[in-house]
């Protein structure tokens, strides 16, 4: 199934409050933006609906779009052989979105990483702890306004 068909099916199922118009950028891949409120239900439906059957979550990327944060999901279906890219836009002051670790277990580590490096909070995650950085690290390095600390436990960084 092509992404425009998937988009049409999503619109029909969830309505235009939850599903934004299909985004086709100047270059590269088109994507579908989902509202944070509907996101978890959309993911569950995409996995369970037999015509969709998105059984494989490739990756989750936290993105700092400078005016907002985003969580980007790349899905693939082994049975159907099609793929889709989902975006969720989150406000800078409170970037929170439902965890999909209960839909795809692989989301567990990806969400921890996006939390660690970008600071997106995945609600309902079984254990949202830092994964790559030490537990006592301050800040989220992949934010555009991040300032590298001058020292860490007496080790000079400059």
């Amino acid at each position: 199934m092509k992404i425009d068909e998937i988009h049409a099916r999503l619109l029909k199922q969830f309505g235009d409050c939850a599903i934004a118009p299909l985004a086709v950028p100047e270059a590269g891949d088109p994507y579908i933006t989902i509202s944070p409120e509907a996101f978890h239900a959309v993911c569950r439906w995409l996995r369970d609906e037999s015509e969709m059957a998105f059984d494989y979550l490739r990756l989750i990327s936290g993105v700092d779009w400078t005016d907002r944060f985003g969580s980007v999901y790349h899905l693939y279906s082994y049975t159907r052989g099609h793929s889709v890219t989902l975006h969720v836009d989150l406000p800078r002051e409170a970037p929170r979105v439902a965890s999909v670790a209960d839909v795809w277990p692989t989301a567990d580590w990806h969400e921890r990483e996006a939390y660690d490096l970008v600071g997106i909070v995945y609600e309902g995650h079984p254990e949202l702890a830092r994964i790559l950085l030490p537990d006592d690290w301050e800040g989220h390095p992949l934010r555009k306004d991040y300032r590298m600390p001058e020292e860490y436990h007496g080790v000079c960084n400059v």
Partner: protein, 387 residues
């Protein structure tokens, strides 16, 4: 004197009811020889049994993704070499393919064929390290020496092509860095001949070795459903019986033109998806890679090896994700461009990170020695797990 000594050390008889057992938390790593780098596993043990194992990562983290946002696209390529440092050719190819798709940059046919050739050579080299180190984890040192003998031949070929022995910086945006040097064609063919000759020796030495089979068959079984749910890719996915290879499913660099098979785990020694199956998929893949390299050499088109690309590239607005089949599984770069000379975001989706995430699920109620076997069969490179 001697008599007195032996009296003092005479053991107290052990009775079943006098034994006291309790659970213990043990750190395996970060400096543990079988963790293939610096990985820390916190294991909850009861005697020899592991009840749970929690991986702790990040010891090699250098925030590749932050660095990649602060340099130009061409400057990112050598950094990708250092992710999965046993498969530098494959990494750089995956990144270049992403940039080329977003920037609509053509790659000459000869460059694509050369990329396929070096990527497959690198795949064999990587699988040889997996073969050797897996055996060493299980206590057999000899296979490692065999593997490094053949790996040296590959490294010397790749050195003649690229100038590097481990980190090559060979695939470039829009092509490759250099053409074949004279006589290299023959050297590669000689290597393929040698590889095919010794492969049965490897199997006699390890694959069919009874001790090795006992240590790996029916150990660390990952079902097909688990493998998909946890995002396993590459030999770990195929070992669980899923016939999926990105080179066939979403071909890149002209892989659709090559004739090769996708091996899958069949439970030949035990259960589908056990350590032996994952190991065996890699063994068969080495032979399939030989076939691809031979076809690439036979059909190597004439022509340029690099298309015209601006020194400082400015990509159009947009985003792209191009996955490639690396030796360890799916490597893809999610590249977001906001029209500047540096990316807004580059995210590396590496196979080692995802394959490792199943550790906790598999390492429940297994022997401590099995944890080592399971980790070895997953075949991780910490440079890519931690990025």
């Amino acid at each position: 004197m001697g008599c007195a000594m032996s009296e003092t050390v005479s053991p107290t008889p052990i009775r079943q009811d006098s034994l006291r057992t309790e659970e213990m938390l043990i750190n395996m790593g970060p400096q543990h020889p079988s963790t293939h780098g610096v990985l820390r596993l916190v294991v909850r043990t009861d005697g020899e049994m592991v009840r749970e194992a929690w991986p702790h990562l990040g010891y090699l983290h250098r925030c590749f993704e932050k660095v990649a946002e602060s340099v130009t696209y061409a400057q990112v390529v050598p950094y990708t070499d250092r992710l999965d440092y046993l498969a530098s050719m494959n990494n750089a190819q995956a990144f270049c393919l992403g940039v080329e798709k977003l920037g609509r940059i053509e790659v000459p046919e000869r460059a694509s064929a050369l990329r396929v050739m070096v990527a497959e050579l690198n795949r064999i080299a990587s699988h040889l390290v997996a073969f050797g180190s897996f055996a060493m984890d299980l206590g057999a040192v000899t296979p490692f020496l065999y593997a490094f003998r053949e790996r040296e031949l590959i490294i010397s070929i790749l050195e003649k092509i690229s100038g590097g022995r481990l980190l090559y910086h060979y695939p470039r945006i829009g092509g490759v860095a250099r053409d074949l040097t004279p006589g290299l064609d023959q050297e590669i063919r000689d290597f393929l001949k040698q590889m095919r000759r010794v492969w049965p020796e490897y199997n006699a030495l390890l694959s069919e070795n009874q001790i090795f089979v006992k240590r790996t068959a029916n150990v660390g079984t990952v079902t097909r459903e688990q493998a998909i749910a946890w995002g396993l890719t590459g030999p770990c996915l195929r070992g669980s019986g899923v016939k999926f290879d990105l080179r066939k499913a979403q071909p890149y660099s002209g892989y659709e033109k090559y004739d090769f098979e996708i091996p899958v785990g069949e439970g030949a020694k035990g259960t589908v998806g056990d350590c032996w199956d994952r190991y065996w998929v890699r063994m068969v893949e080495m032979m399939e890679s030989c076939r691809i390299i031979e076809q690439a050499l036979d059909g190597l088109p004439e022509g340029p090896i690099q298309s015209k690309v601006a020194k400082v590239l400015r990509l159009p607005l947009g985003e792209v994700y191009v996955p490639c089949e690396n030796p360890r599984g799916e490597l893809g770069f999610f590249i977001v461009s906001d029209g500047k000379t540096q990316a807004l975001r580059i995210k590396a989706r590496g196979p080692s990170f995802n394959n490792l995430s199943i550790t906790h699920t598999v390492c429940q109620d297994v022997l401590i020695a099995d944890v080592v076997a399971i980790l070895g069969s997953i075949d991780i490179v910490l440079g890519e797990v931690d990025r």
